[in-house]
């Protein structure tokens, strides 16, 4: 099976090359037979990549240490679960994983849109195949997962302990599903540019796949935050690490696209801009994969390093060059009849939304690559860390949050003063009330107060929209609140799903602002000794050390400190922080010891205990962190996911006449006349 896998990888490369050549030729010569062959070539590539992947999984699960990839990423005593995930824990495997997802997506996208987009299919297929050629060729020539060792090691080098978390099964695949999905809109955009068919027909396909990308990127990013929080032990979920940043970048541009595409759908405007956003999202995904898998920038994630840099760089600039050429030569076809009735309209709000999202993306990219620029410019090595990203992005983020409240409420085309007053009165009062309440409660920090006031304002606008919608349904259909709510969302999935996503965003912002009140305590306790401290809410906590324990597992030695915890005199239970030393099957130590924080979560506050070191058998050094509102971040992530699902869910073609308004229309006059006669 391993041999079949290896051979399949090479056959996949040939198939992808054929698919690319035949499809482009079919498009250029208008030969449907060539196009059909190219499409079949794409399907065949998918099958071959599946076989290659099955080969690698077989090698991993059979613990065949003669394969270099297996020997350097797992050890024999690891649970099968993590051995399965080792597929994407290294560079060669993750490139294959990219190819696997891309060929799968490509097959689905082409198979489902073939009939509707006849003109685009040859070019889209060719472009997808070209991207596949790059990934498979890189895998074959520069990072082959099937490379054999010329000796048989007794055991492998194991998987980094910090990767041995259930998150490993979900975070990387979701992120890859998101990254790779940007390739489909890119391929269709290239196809539309090639054929100069830039009208509405490609929009539906592109929007659907942009949503898929957004959905998986969102899950991937939030899961990554959660994983970093529960596994790395530094007490936070976002460090503005280059790899975190590079997953955030395509998310930002895809989010911008999902908003601006509404203007194109409604008004036919912004066509150039939307093409640019599609292309940039794809390029940023490639950039993200490159950063993650090349080790170009020092980062927690750059554990996989090898000389694929040149290949990625070349591909990146070829793709950029091609699209600049295509867009440049087709500017006139992209000209839109753009006109606007008013500066105060939803169109304008969306433009500013796009400006801010792209502005944040630029700021993040800029901060990520600036150390390289600085060293290149004058040899000055600098660190661009969280203080920079926070200072630059917080103002932009708050403006964006404010727009989240404003955008959905102002009318398309033109908003009247009356309309504004009617829509914004309640939400504005709510926002101000939140700010007043926080001031009364003694909060003095400006940024959090502004954030919570804006959260209140946006929550007000969303609540008002749902309230009005449900009331209207109740009036028309006599439905209960619950049923009205379900129908309201179900019949207007894009709109109300979008609001649910926004509600998730509010919760995220509320959680982020909570970080301003984080407090950390660096303490040393011997058995029986107690530490007392007040949390940011002013409640008294008492931690009593239960001493250090050591236990042995098949694949690790664990040292743990237990803290008996009391809040305001009430016993809450034991929080345990651990240190783990992983071992291979021969009992040799693998990696450095790793941290396993003890976390007690509640809606208000997380209590986060890290065992930082053990001095003697019963003296432990540890850090206790009070992290307010962290659970809000995870809840917000869930809400965004649910909202995204609602928006993505295929809407039945037969839309029930705009949520039931038809039911109350008077009978048609002709019908009345006829009846009268």
């Amino acid at each position: 099976m391993i041999l079949i896998g290896e051979l399949s990888l090479w056959v996949a490369l040939l198939m992808a090359v054929w698919s690319m050549t035949a499809s482009y030729a079919g498009g250029a010569l208008r030969r449907d037979d060539l196009t059909a062959s190219g499409v079949r070539g794409l399907y065949a590539t998918f099958v071959m990549v599946v076989l290659a992947s099955a080969g690698l999984w077989t090698a991993l699960l059979s613990r065949d240490f003669s394969v270099e990839y297996v020997a350097s990423h797992i050890s024999a005593n690891m649970p099968n679960f993590y051995i399965f995930t080792a597929f994407w824990s290294g560079q060669a495997g993750s490139l294959l994983f990219w190819a696997l997802i891309l060929s799968m997506y490509g097959t689905i996208a082409i198979a489902t849109s073939r009939a509707r987009n006849r003109e685009l299919v040859p070019w889209a297929t060719g472009t997808l195949a070209a991207i596949l050629v790059f990934f498979i060729a890189t895998d074959c020539f520069k990072a082959n997962p099937f490379t054999r060792l010329d000796f048989l090691p007794a055991d492998g080098r194991g998987m980094n302990p910090q990767l041995q978390n259930p998150g490993m099964a979900f975070h990387p695949p979701n992120l890859y599903l998101g990254y790779v999905a940007t390739a489909i809109p890119f391929a269709f955009a290239v196809a539309a540019l090639f054929t100069r068919r830039l009208d509405a027909e490609w929009l539906a396909v592109v929007r659907r796949w942009a949503l898929v990308s957004w959905f998986f990127l969102t899950i991937g990013i939030v899961l990554g935050m959660w994983w970093a929080y529960v596994e790395l032990g530094w007490g936070g979920y976002w460090a503005w690490d280059p790899v975190e940043n590079s997953s955030f970048l395509p998310w930002l541009t895809t989010t911008a696209f999902l908003h601006s595409i509404m203007i194109q759908e409604k008004r036919g405007m912004l066509r150039k801009w939307n093409v640019v956003l599609v292309v940039v999202s794809f390029l940023l995904s490639i950039f993200g994969t490159f950063i993650t898998r090349s080790g170009v920038i020092e980062s927690v994630h750059s554990f996989a390093q090898s000389p694929v840099g040149t290949w990625f760089g070349t591909f990146f600039f070829l793709a950029t060059g091609l699209t600049i050429y295509l867009v440049g030569t087709r500017l006139r076809d992209l000209e839109a009849r753009a006109e606007l009735e008013s500066m105060v309209s939803r169109e304008a709000a969306f433009l500013y939304n796009n400006l801010l999202l792209v502005g944040i993306a630029f700021a993040v990219l800029w901060g990520t690559v600036f150390p390289i620029l600085s060293e290149w410019w004058n040899g000055n090595k600098i660190t661009v860390g969280p203080p920079f990203f926070n200072a630059v992005n917080i103002p932009l983020g708050l403006l964006l949050l404010a727009l989240t409240g404003v955008g959905p409420l102002i009318a398309w085309r033109r908003a009247s003063v009356d309309n504004l007053k009617r829509q914004f009165l309640t939400p504005a009062i709510l926002g101000l009330a939140v700010a007043a309440a926080l001031l009364v409660a003694g909060m003095r920090a400006l940024a959090p107060i502004v954030t919570y006031a804006l959260c209140g304002f946006v929550a007000g606008t969303i609540g008002q929209e749902f309230y009005k919608g449900v009331r209207a349904r109740q009036a028309i259909h006599n439905e209960s609140i619950f049923k009205g709510f379900i129908h309201l969302v179900g019949r207007n999935r894009r709109r109300y799903g979008g609001y649910i996503v926004h509600a998730g965003v509010i919760m995220l912002f509320a959680g982020f602002a909570g970080l301003a009140f984080k407090s950390e305590h660096d303490i040393t306790l011997s058995t029986g000794q107690a530490f007392e401290v007040r949390d940011p809410y002013g409640r008294q906590w008492r931690f009593v050390s239960q001493g250090v324990s050591t236990s042995q597992r098949p694949d690790r030695v664990v040292q743990a400190v237990g803290l008996e915890t009391f809040r305001d005199g009430k016993r809450l239970g034991l929080i345990a922080g651990e240190k783990r030393q992983y071992l291979d099957s021969q009992g040799n130590e693998l990696f450095n010891p790793s941290t396993e924080p003890g976390i007690r979560s509640s809606a208000k506050l997380d209590t986060y205990v890290v065992l930082a070191g053990v001095r003697s058998s019963d003296v432990a050094e540890m850090r206790i962190t009070f992290n307010p509102l962290v659970t809000w971040v995870w809840t917000g992530g869930y809400l965004m996911m649910i909202g995204g699902l609602i928006v993505m869910w295929p809407q039945a073609e037969r839309r029930r006449a705009q949520a039931g308004y038809a039911a109350v229309l008077p009978p048609r006059p002709e019908a009345a006349e006829l009846a009268g006669v």
């Binding site: 020539f141 194991g158 910090q162 790395l232 530094w234 007490g235 503005w240 020092e298 927690v300 994630h301 750059s302 554990f303 390093q305 290949w311 760089g313 070349t314 990146f316 950029t320 753009a338 006109e339 606007l340 009735e341 008013s342 500066m343 105060v344 304008a348 433009l351 801010l356 502005g359 630029f362 700021a363 800029w366 600036f370 390289i372 600085s374 290149w376 004058n378 000055n380 090595k381 600098i382 661009v384 860390g385 920079f388 200072a391 630059v392 103002p395 932009l396 009318a411 398309w412 085309r413 033109r414 009356d418 309309n419 950390e520 240190k579 450095n592 941290t595 930082a612 050094e621 705009q658």
Partner: protein, 209 residues
């Protein structure tokens, strides 16, 4: 193999864009060579246990510590650990007990605090030894100003550009422009107030749909 790589490099170097990328790549290569990091590909990041260098200031005469423990922790949050992680000294030393760099840097901080030095003096001493990478964010001076201000300036420029674009679009909609921004001017039409109200309601309905 070599010829393929050489061919690719030649093919690519024609484009100006690729020249830029090569420059960046060269800069990065320099980065990895200079820091002579001990690379262990099995680690989550390349940890350089030898990165700590002594940072010393002579104690001030009759020195008393000017910083409380909380202020010292606050200070350590501003100093970047040099082990290769992305964390500050306080967070690294209280998280990763395999790192020997952050405890060494912590000891230097403690010595200087004991010697009566202020937070700013201690930070300056670290920058003196390690260079600006000892800070968590670049100083706002020289070339770094570009880092700090480029994002804000480009968003401002973008904002103005969007505003101009909106104006141009509005100019293309003469009817709408004539009607004015605040709805229809009653003096300019001979419609009755009642008719105007109905029109406004219709427009509103359109907006809500």
């Amino acid at each position: 193999m070599t010829s393929r790589r050489a061919f690719l490099r030649h093919a690519a170097s024609g484009a100006a864009a690729v020249v830029a990328s090569a420059g960046v790549a060269r800069a990065q290569r320099g980065l990895t060579h200079d820091s002579s990091v001990i690379r262990d590909s099995t680690n989550l990041f390349a940890m350089d246990q030898m990165a700590a260098q002594p940072v010393r200031l002579p104690p001030k005469p009759g020195a008393t510590p000017q910083l409380t423990d909380a202020q010292r922790d606050e200070l350590e949050h501003k100093i970047h650990c040099q082990c290769g992680c992305t964390l500050d000294v306080f967070t690294c030393r209280t998280t990763d007990f395999s790192c020997q760099v952050s405890p060494a840097m912590h000891r230097d901080v403690m010595e200087m605090v004991k010697g009566g030095h202020s937070a700013q003096e201690i930070i300056d001493a670290f920058v003196g030894v390690y260079g600006e990478r000892a800070l968590m964010a670049p100083r706002k001076s020289g070339f770094n100003l570009l880092a700090w201000f480029a994002p804000g300036v480009s968003v401002l420029v973008g904002g103005v550009a969007v505003l101009m674009l909106l104006r141009r679009w509005r100019a293309k909609a003469p009817l709408a422009a004539a009607a004015g921004q605040r709805g229809i001017d009653p003096a300019a039409t001979d419609a009755t107030p009642d008719e105007l109200a109905r029109l406004a309601a219709a427009v509103k309905g359109d907006g809500d749909a």
